[in-house]
């Protein structure tokens, strides 16, 4: 059994990689690609400003790399085993990574024979009285200088690209642009002679020469920053095993549409979804299972037929319509049923409530807890109503199967009371499929109920997943996919284990 579980766990790794890779590539290959949303809304921006903004963003999030490279970088960050220089952790808990490489300026061959190399810098020595604060200050100052130099280089490159774009558009060379409209430097490099004929050449030459200067500054500042970083201004993250290899916790990264750590976003959304489901699932079970049992006991009877068709009718009623109808009739005060709130999880005044309901000086106050329960009534009923059919039909079918078994006949023959046959024998044996069904519900909980959360404005996982897809937010999307996939796989494994525990005939040898 242990070996089996281990094997399944190891199998999970390639499966997870496959799933995340597939999702990532699907998004990357869709029109606009990763991060497309970030350039939205800049229609009123000047061309150069837009180019600079894009360049800044691409630099910050590494969006200029090709999609597979971006994916591999992401893998490197979430892998618990890290290679290369170790990150450091500043007092606010932020991971400080070694300074990024400086990208080689395009078309440098046109202006210099050799790329400038950084000036050599002595290893940084802390003063003997250096405190953590003063070390941090030194690092911060140098980091700021480096990012300023880098920003100059980036905007310089964007300006050069804009000017090159004008030149190639003038010449009418279509193949010098890629699908996203970026200029292709390798194509341009081969067309120096043609570009020299355009009126833009002076400006291109000026910008190109400037760019070499910016590059020189940037590599110098980076070298200095590297020296400070190597002197370890902060404690290192994780622990090293071999030189260049260390273990530290996976870094899910930051969402670029919200620029907050992905883990923080998920940990805000998950409790909400779990709360809804923790209320909904027991309700489904407590209603569906007894009615399924009753239907099985009086199979073909009036209850069986009525409950069966009623549940199927509910199951086939579309959730979006149900949600809107509920808001229309059960939340509008002008109707008799309209006693429920239409959106959110708390009333406006809930922040001033006590946790439990109180009755002080003749004033009834429903309290925070009750207020929340009152708010989830409509969304939970939306979640619940479609769930009865499957579960009650499952119970009924399993019960009927067992009723026809030999052991039931034997029990009847022995004179066991009907009640005992139903509860002790048949029901127990019918429970197995229900247990495994419960396991498969976990992943659904994580994915959230997208439609319901949207209708009732509940900030849960469903909303987060949809948002990450709409905004093509790389980090958020990959983390969500990864989590939902992992929980799905674990749930499947758990189901298999439960099978073998519940049914001795199944074993994984």
């Amino acid at each position: 059994m242990g070996v089996y579980i281990l094997r399944r766990l190891l199998m999970m790794i390639p499966t997870l990689l496959g799933i995340t890779f597939l999702v990532f590539m699907l998004i990357a290959l869709s029109p606009g690609g990763i991060g497309a949303s970030m350039s939205a809304g800049d229609g009123q921006m000047e061309e150069t400003s837009r180019a600079i903004k894009e360049a800044y963003l691409e630099d910050r999030y590494g969006l200029d790399a090709s999609a597979p490279v971006q994916y591999v970088r992401w893998l490197g960050r979430i892998s618990p085993v890290k290679f290369g220089k170790r990150d450091q952790i500043d007092p606010t808990g932020e991971f400080i990574q070694p300074p990024k490489e400086v990208k080689v300026p395009p078309l440098w061959q046109w202006y210099v024979d050799e790329l400038p190399v950084p000036q050599a810098v002595e290893p940084y020595q802390w003063a003997s009285d250096a405190t953590p604060e003063s070390k941090s200050k030194v690092y911060r100052r140098q980091a700021n200088l480096y990012s300023k130099a880098r920003a100059k280089l980036i905007s310089g490159r964007a300006l050069l690209d804009t000017e090159l774009g004008k030149a190639i558009d003038d010449l009418g060379i279509k193949h010098a642009r890629n699908k996203k409209g970026k200029v292709k430097h390798e194509v341009i490099d081969s067309m120096r002679a043609q570009i020299e004929q355009t009126p833009y050449i002076d400006e291109i030459d000026r910008l190109g020469t400037d760019l070499i200067g910016y590059y020189q500054d940037a590599v110098n500042e980076r070298e200095k920053l590297m020296a400070v970083f190597d002197a370890k201004p902060y404690p290192e993250a994780g622990f090293g095993i071999l030189p260049g290899i260390s273990i530290s916790k996976p870094d899910m990264g930051k969402s670029f549409s919200k620029s907050r750590p992905v883990m923080e976003l998920i940990s805000e959304a998950i409790p909400v979804t779990i709360l809804l489901n923790l209320i909904a699932i027991p309700i489904i079970y407590f209603i569906a299972i007894p009615s399924g049992m009753l239907a099985a006991v009086r199979s073909g009877g009036i209850f069986d037929r009525v409950s069966g068709s009623f549940y199927i009718a509910l199951w086939s009623f579309p959730i979006p319509l149900a949600g809107v109808l509920m808001i229309g009739y059960m939340a509008d005060n002008s109707y008799w049923l309209g006693k429920f709130p239409a959106s959110g999880l708390h009333s406006s005044a809930a922040d001033g409530f006590t946790y439990l309901p109180t009755y002080i000086d003749g004033v009834w106050q429903r309290g925070y807890l009750l207020d929340m329960l009152w708010h989830v009534v409509l969304p939970v009923s939306c979640l619940v109503y479609g769930g009865f059919a499957v579960l009650s039909k499952q119970t009924r079918a399993a019960m009927l199967d067992n009723f026809n078994m030999d052991y039931v006949r034997t029990a009847k023959a022995k004179g066991v009371s009907y009640k005992d046959i139903v509860f002790k024998h048949v029901f127990r044996n019918s429970l197995l499929p229900l247990i495994t069904m419960f396991v498969s519900i976990f992943p659904a909980m994580l994915a959230g109920s997208v439609v319901i959360e949207k209708i009732f404005t509940i900030p849960g996982m469903g909303n987060l997943v949809i948002e990450s897809i709409n905004l093509k937010d790389r980090e958020l999307l990959l983390a969500n996919t990864m989590m939902i996939a992992a929980v799905n796989l674990l749930a499947l494994l758990l189901a298999d284990i439960l099978y073998s525990l519940a049914d001795p005939r199944i074993s994984y040898k």
Binding site: N144, K258, S259, V272, G328, N333, A342, T354, T457
Partner: protein, 656 residues
């Protein structure tokens, strides 16, 4: 004996679980109480601080009164002196000299007030006192208190100023933060807010601003010139902060220098009509607050928003900020330097579903919602609705417009029929825009006349929209060489090519679908074959960049009364995949370049009007509709007015 789990065990277990749950709840309750106490203590602290400040102010006032008293005594002394001289007759000779010395002293007083100014003849533009556009104080039922709840249809993810630049974050931050200058709600002219006066170089290279003396941030610290310098140089222009969007726009400001504690000077790279807006229009942030934080703390923050505005966020603690998904609550800034709002607080709530929004509004749980167009036209006609709510429908400076762009240049190397302006005019003539508004938009909106629409002063008031006139359109088409030669009902040119074009629209919208159907019909009526091409919004960018369309329907949003026409209309934007995607080139550059260089407002508007006339004549776009703002506001709030600038919630007061 069989070890059985019986009823007793079950009851016992339930009891144990219950005890556990209650203990947990109690702990939670205790936590909440503790937090409340902390909050109260904080509030007491602020109140004490204010009392101390009032005390100081009182002392200052007292000394000032004393000074005035001594002044009065001196004047009295001089008066008696004068009396003596009058009676002695020494004054009568000296009238002319007296008036001279009077003007002289007025000048010196002016210089004293403007001692911060650059020497020379550049005039100082003193700004009026900050006041409400409509004073509520003397109105019926005016009182303090109440909470105004505004509903947003989309989730807010971030509030920290400059990092968050979406419309909703801006609407919240407009209550919290202030800029040096702001547009007047009625006239839409730049007016001093934090700035008391400024001096603007007639050549357009520099701007010197004097900050008001009494302005302070919501924590009581004074707004100084250093805060202005810091906001531009070390906040917006800090490459470590995620301020890319603004940083790339703000390239026109070369540097910001502190002249004295309250005086700051902007230097511009080159003269530009939009420089004044750039320098005066950005939020001024408190340096002392943000420098306590590391760049990554600011980057990852959700709501570290502090400024000098009439409202403030209660929680500005890094570890305990507002989190997305909760309501944003702003409380009145009791130390506000300007006219204080009557409302105690403002709440911003997110409700995504539009039926839920309307339901909550009907229930009286929220004060203002943006209804959808069908909701607006249906609900506002309900009986008794007008006693319950204001139904506001007005065009303002942020109203954008919808249009159909005609490909005036080549598409894939081939000219489209629309390169001829007569054809474009004909296209406009066959589209009854008023009918589209009445039938498809439920009568909400007005026919757009050009790139700037009323109430923007940049719109030419003499321009009437093109009429709906099929006969004239047919004539224009015939003039342009499009006649039905072979009698098959489709127009041809002399080469025999049929008039066929592709009409690109975005998928998934009912209104655009209905407009498309209408246009196909109208084209058929004059003998033009219009083939719809329906694409996903995410493909639009690529289509526009490659100029791969004959006609395309879309819309532009507006953010200011005179947005720079350069990006959309200049021929420079034809190159390099810019936003002149219709590749229109009809000599518009002379106007656009002149607009940028004309610093005087009235002069600039004249050029704008000429530019508008050119566009009207050329019809590179067929302008469809100006989308007005629609709002329902609960009638419990009074002093509600619509302005060309938008709404001024801070003027409202709550009087149910």
């Amino acid at each position: 004996m069989q070890n059985k789990f019986g009823l007793k065990d079950f009851v016992l277990m339930v009891l144990v679980v219950l005890v556990g749950v209650f203990t947990l709840m109690n702990i939670k309750e205790g936590d909440r109480r503790w937090e409340k106490t902390q909050e109260l203590l904080n509030k007491v602290g602020t109140v004490e601080q204010q009392v101390a400040k009032l005390d100081r102010n009182l002392q200052e006032t007292e000394t000032a009164i004393q000074e005035v008293m001594t002044g009065i005594a001196a004047v009295e002394g001089r008066l008696t002196n004068l009396d003596d001289r009058l009676s002695s007759g020494a004054f009568s000779v000296n009238v002319g000299a007296g008036s001279n010395s009077n003007t002289g002293s007025a000048n010196t007083a002016g210089n004293a007030r403007g001692s911060w100014a650059r020497p020379g003849s550049v005039p100082i533009q003193w700004q009026p006192r900050v006041e409400f556009a409509s004073e509520p104080y003397d109105m019926e039922g005016y009182r303090l208190g109440g909470e105004f709840t505004e509903v947003f249809p989309a989730q807010l993810s971030k509030l920290t100023p400059v990092l968050a630049e979406d419309t909703y974050a801006r609407r919240v931050n407009d209550q919290i933060c202030e800029s040096l200058g702001d547009l007047d709600p009625v006239t839409l002219e730049m007016k001093g807010l934090l700035a008391e006066a400024w001096q603007y170089d007639p050549e357009g290279y520099w701007l010197r601003v004097k900050i008001r003396d009494n302005v302070n941030f919501s924590d009581g610290v004074e707004v100084t010139a250093e805060d202005v310098r810091w906001t531009f140089h070390d906040y917006i222009n800090n490459p470590e902060l995620e301020t890319e969007a603004l940083r790339s726009i703000l390239t026109s400001i070369e540097k910001v220098e502190v002249i004295s504690e309250k005086v700051v000077e902007f230097t511009f790279r080159q003269p530009d009509a939009y420089n004044l807006q750039a320098a005066l229009g950005f939020y001024i942030l408190p340096k002392h607050f943000y420098t306590q934080l590391t760049p990554s703390q600011i980057n990852q923050s959700t709501a570290l928003s502090m400024g000098s505005g009439p409202f403030k966020l209660n929680n500005l603690d890094v570890d305990n900020q507002w989190a997305p998904g909760k309501d944003v609550i702003l409380v009145r800034n009791e130390q506000y330097w300007g006219p204080k709002p009557a409302m105690k607080s403002m709440r911003f709530k997110v409700i995504i579903e539009d039926i839920a929004r309307l339901t909550e509004f009907r229930n009286g749980n929220v004060s203002m919602i943006p209804p959808s167009s069908p909701q607006f036209s249906k609900v506002s006609r309900e009986e008794g609705w007008d006693d319950f709510a204001y139904s506001l429908n007005w065009a303002n400076m942020r109203s954008g417009y919808g249009f159909i762009g005609w490909q005036c240049g080549p598409r894939n190397g081939k000219l489209t029929p629309f390169h001829d302006k007569r054809v474009r005019q004909a296209m406009t003539l066959i589209i009854d825009r008023q009918l589209i508004i009445d039938d498809i938009f439920n009568g909400i909106g007005s026919v757009a006349v050009g790139p700037n629409n009323p109430p923007s002063p940049a719109a030419n008031p003499d321009i009437e929209p093109w009429p709906y006139d099929i006969e004239r359109a047919k004539m224009l088409l015939a003039e342009a060489g499009w006649v039905d030669i072979d009698g098959d009902g489709i127009l041809e040119n002399e080469r025999g090519d049929e008039f066929t074009f592709e009409f690109t629209r975005v998928a998934g919208s009912q209104t655009t679908e209905r407009i498309e159907k209408y246009i196909v019909d109208q084209c058929a009526a004059v003998g033009i074959r219009c083939e719809p091409r329906i694409v996903d919004w995410s493909l639009y960018d690529q289509i526009l960049k490659n100029r791969d369309f004959d006609a395309i329907m879309m819309g532009w949003a507006a953010s200011s009364p005179e947005s720079d026409p350069k990006q959309i209309w200049h021929t420079d934007s034809i190159q390099n995949q810019g936003h002149n995607f219709i590749q229109w080139d009809a000599g518009q550059d002379r106007y656009i370049d002149k607009i940028k260089l004309t610093l005087d407002f009235d002069e600039r508007m004249k050029v704008f009007h000429e530019f508008h006339s050119l566009i009207h004549e050329e019809q590179p776009y067929t302008f469809l509709r100006v989308g007005p703002w629609l709002r329902f506001i609960n009638k419990d709030f009074k002093n509600v007015h619509t302005y060309p600038k938008g709404l001024e919630q801070r003027e409202y007061y709550y009087a149910p």
